[in-house]
Symmetry: C2
Subunit: 159 residues, 2 copies
């Protein structure tokens, strides 16, 4: 295995491990647990899961794989806080969205070469990227993995 | 800059960003906030901060930099749960330990070459490492960064 593939493997391994643990936990929650707040007056589980789906859906766009699958989630789960009054999808729909987004991400990741991962993401200009080559597609994946860990630390409080 | 160095820079950037945000937040808490639980019947802030210090102190050992600076923290904050009855250090002492551990880590990281990061960590045998070269020192840093994000998602609930 060449050096570059080792880096990609390390980053992907962290992502896959966190997603797979998160998915197991989230799909195992009862409807009542989905509706609960993680602490008094804090975000509900349904909001946080919707937030993770919406943010991870955005990886498709920022990596140039495709447009977001569920762009309508951004208003409900990213631009606005929990209990904004905006209608949320049902728990069953969110379970489907979670699996669809992460399946598409994982399929797309499999077809990406190490060179693809070290290329510029769509939110960087060519000029910025020349100055800062570490802000590549793989750095997006590392950042989104930390974001997932952060909110999973909260979601797990519901049990 | 070669690919290996870029990847090291990416991983270190993530670590430094998370540590610096965490430090700013934790050192800005009142003594009363340190004593609070992050949610009813859940871990206290003081326990979670002690846990992060103890686990990050262990990075010195697993990367072969030095022995742990505060090995006595493991029993209180890792092997045993919160409210175990074991005596905790004072908040002021924990603030000092936090800064000392992370200063030593950051100083040590500065002197490590990209090749150092891609070498075997002390919890791997040579034989295992040959089979799985992605389980190197940098993978320890990536994992500890996710661990930090996970618990910071919880600690931030106190405010």
């Amino acid at each position: 295995m060449d050096q570059k593939s080792i880096f990609v493997k390390m980053a992907l391994h962290g992502w896959e491990q966190e997603i797979s643990r998160a998915e197991k936990f989230i799909l195992g929650l009862s409807d009542e647990q989905w509706q609960k707040q993680i602490a008094p007056d804090r975000n509900s589980v349904i909001y946080l899961v919707g937030h993770l789906i919406a943010v991870n859906d955005g990886i498709l766009d920022i990596l140039g794989i495709s447009e977001k699958l569920y762009p309508e989630l951004t208003a409900v789960f990213v631009s606005n806080p929990d209990r904004s009054g905006l209608e949320m999808p049902s728990i069953n729909d969110l379970k489907t969205y979670w699996q669809t987004v992460h399946q598409k991400l994982n399929d797309s990741f499999l077809s990406m070469s190490a060179d693809d991962w070290f290329s510029r993401h769509t939110a960087m200009t060519d000029q910025d990227f020349e100055v800062e080559p570490s802000r590549n597609k793989l750095s997006v994946l590392l950042g989104r993995t930390r974001h997932l860990s952060y909110h999973m630390g909260q979601i797990r409080l519901v049990k």
